[in-house]
Symmetry: C2
Subunit: 391 residues, 2 copies
């Protein structure tokens, strides 16, 4: 655990198939006006909308709806939400949905009372929050992003062709989150496995960084093994409560700042994936899966000790008579097979990427320093081409 750091995560989690009852505990702590934020309306089909509004009414709250939050929340939607939040004098923002809805709720929370353009202040310039923050609570219906227990918020500005995430401090983290694994049962398979790989990528992009092997690495190996075990079960039976509940719990702990402690963290796969996403509008997790194996093969020689450890501790690769490189490569091969078995997209062409986009995707990829090798633009193009040759 090298370096100095602060750990602070005040989000209260209510977990389990009866988790929504926690809303009755939490609501009395806030004023009457609740901005009820959700997405495309799937919560009306599966009954969650009714369950939540029933409790809000029981707790004597004024419900102000803010529906239609899109998968990549836009700055225009943010401005609209801010106006609504101010107008109704929201005492609490209740986000009911997946990571995008939670991200949006946090963006409104810090932006509603910002006296400058919040896009410029909090996303473009990443400034600290110095205005009133409206508290946020979440009812999670999809897993993957970890937004339910962190300060992260990603907003997209289409006019400027920018998608920027700001990791706010602990005062912006949700005050509470309701995690009911049953709510995730109805997510379609494509989105489900996309979320699964988002979780895996969050862990791997923290794991494959740093010179020392500290407690965070050991915790991440545990999370990875549990994730692999449970996702295999969830593919066979999507309503396996035990499997889905473990996955939901892993998703939260994969990105709530715990496992980053003592790590430099990489995040280059997310950078390439986001640039692929800007060109294809593909599901976030699939943009990550499609570039991961080529990326890790490329950086493997620069962090061979960690890839060897990964192969042994996570993928149970036997070491007898093999070189470090052989052991490490076998680990990545097993990961690739697991990903294919899950049904993940392994080739960026399947997301709509064409040769003529490569230059632009590489140009749009932020190049970071936390991993085992800082990429060049040419390296990114190489990785994308490798993905395009995957069978």
């Amino acid at each position: 655990m090298l370096g100095n750091f602060i750990y602070s995560n005040p989000t209260k989690l209510y977990f389990g198939d009866n988790a929504l009852s926690g809303l009755r505990e939490e609501l009395p702590k806030y004023g009457k006006n609740v901005l009820f934020v959700y997405g495309g309306g799937s919560i009306k089909k599966n009954g969650i909308y009714d369950e939540v509004t029933t409790i809000l009414k029981e707790c004597d709250k004024n419900i102000i709806e803010d529906a239609g939050v899109m998968p990549n929340p836009t700055v225009e939607k943010l401005y609209e939400g801010c106006e609504r939040a101010r107008k109704c004098k929201a005492d609490l923002i209740l986000a009911v949905g997946g990571g995008s809805v939670c991200d949006y709720a946090k963006a409104v929370s810090v932006s509603a009372y910002c006296d400058q353009d919040p896009w410029e202040k909090y996303f473009l310039h990443m400034e600290d929050v110095d205005n009133k923050i409206i508290p946020v609570g979440c009812v999670l219906t999809m897993v993957g992003t970890g937004s339910e227990m962190n300060g992260g918020s990603v907003i997209t500005n289409r006019a400027q062709k920018l998608k920027i995430g700001h990791i706010f401090k602990d005062n912006v983290m949700p005050k509470f989150s309701i995690l009911n694994p049953v709510y995730t049962f109805s997510v379609p398979k494509y989105q489900m496995i996309s979320g699964f790989f988002d979780i895996m990528s969050h862990i791997l992009e923290q794991y494959f960084s740093g010179d020392d092997d500290n407690t965070s690495d050991y915790i991440m190996e545990g999370l990875l093994k549990s994730l692999i075990y449970s996702t295999k079960k969830a593919i066979d039976d999507p309503i396996d409560y035990e499997a889905r509940s473990n996955i939901m719990w892993i998703a939260t702990w994969a990105l709530n700042t715990l496992v980053e402690k003592g790590k430099t963290t990489d995040w280059e796969v997310h950078m390439i994936g986001q640039s692929v996403g800007a060109y294809t509008d593909a599901a976030h997790g699939m943009t990550l899966s499609s570039v991961s194996i080529p990326y890790y093969r490329f950086i493997m020689p620069y962090g061979i000790h960690k890839f060897k450890r990964y192969a042994i501790n996570v993928w149970n690769v036997k070491t007898d008579g093999k070189t470090d490189r052989e052991i490490a490569s076998e680990g990545l091969e097993r990961m690739k097979q697991y990903m294919k078995d899950l049904g993940l997209i392994m080739n960026v062409k399947d997301l709509g990427v064409t040769e003529d986009m490569l230059e632009g995707i590489a140009e749009g990829t932020f190049l970071l320093d936390g991993g085992y090798k800082r990429l060049t633009k040419q390296d990114v193009i190489h990785i994308l081409k490798e993905s395009m040759s995957v069978q």
Copy 2:
């Protein structure tokens, strides 16, 4: 992750060799009067006392000292601390020391404004806190108990021959804790390894419980592997910062409620150990180490799947051609060898236990239901006798 649960842990941690600077961030949040709680005065020898008082003065605080907290804080000391806290109108209790000092600070925090006898209300009857709570902050100088990030507090009533721990809720957890690994360098070897085994026992007593194998089990295997790796290094070189910092971090996460989620938890080793402690006044971790191997050998047949998993995942036992029982036993043998190498006490006779005490120790052992087998009094005597025969 079976069952419904709440996770809430608002303690803010400042970690690293510069962690004490966090005190300057925290102190302005509280009023002028700080009850400065510490133990036998070792912090005066190693300079921590001076460092802390300098910052308190810089932050313009009134320092009211409450020294002399003993290893097992007594109810008499608690009464005295309550009076002092009320008299000085303490706005913050700052605990500087190990687990006992932190435990004591939390006990004073809930008891100072209790209008009944706090021993009866909060320890004997384990009631919820309904009076004013004085906020607590900790500067940790010894690792093991995890008291720096949980609601636990153990108080001893010698007249009643009772030592009772109450796990209070999140509103009693420390508001902040300062974790500087360097502060643990000067702990004498006997206390150091005793603390190491306390950590291991905390993890094992949560791990060896429950029918399902969920994410908490995987996280615990990671913590155990990291602990084994780093304690071996710390024995060779007690001022190995990397090793001691990992151990400090593991100790916190071993008992801050994370890894208990989804588990029934056992705690029978702590129950036997505490009863041994009542007869011998031995170091807490050594009472645990002296009974652990006989205890786990005894319950192994009732949780064979988990002991097999433990052997493979934590101790790297090879499985080829072996029965489950052989694999599981080999895991315990490796654990025993590791404990001996560390220098832990393996035989209760070495703590002063004699044949004539066995009946009383067994009588004083609380028998719990969370593990793989509920013990009888005779089982406890058998386990103690097994310990007495260890070479």
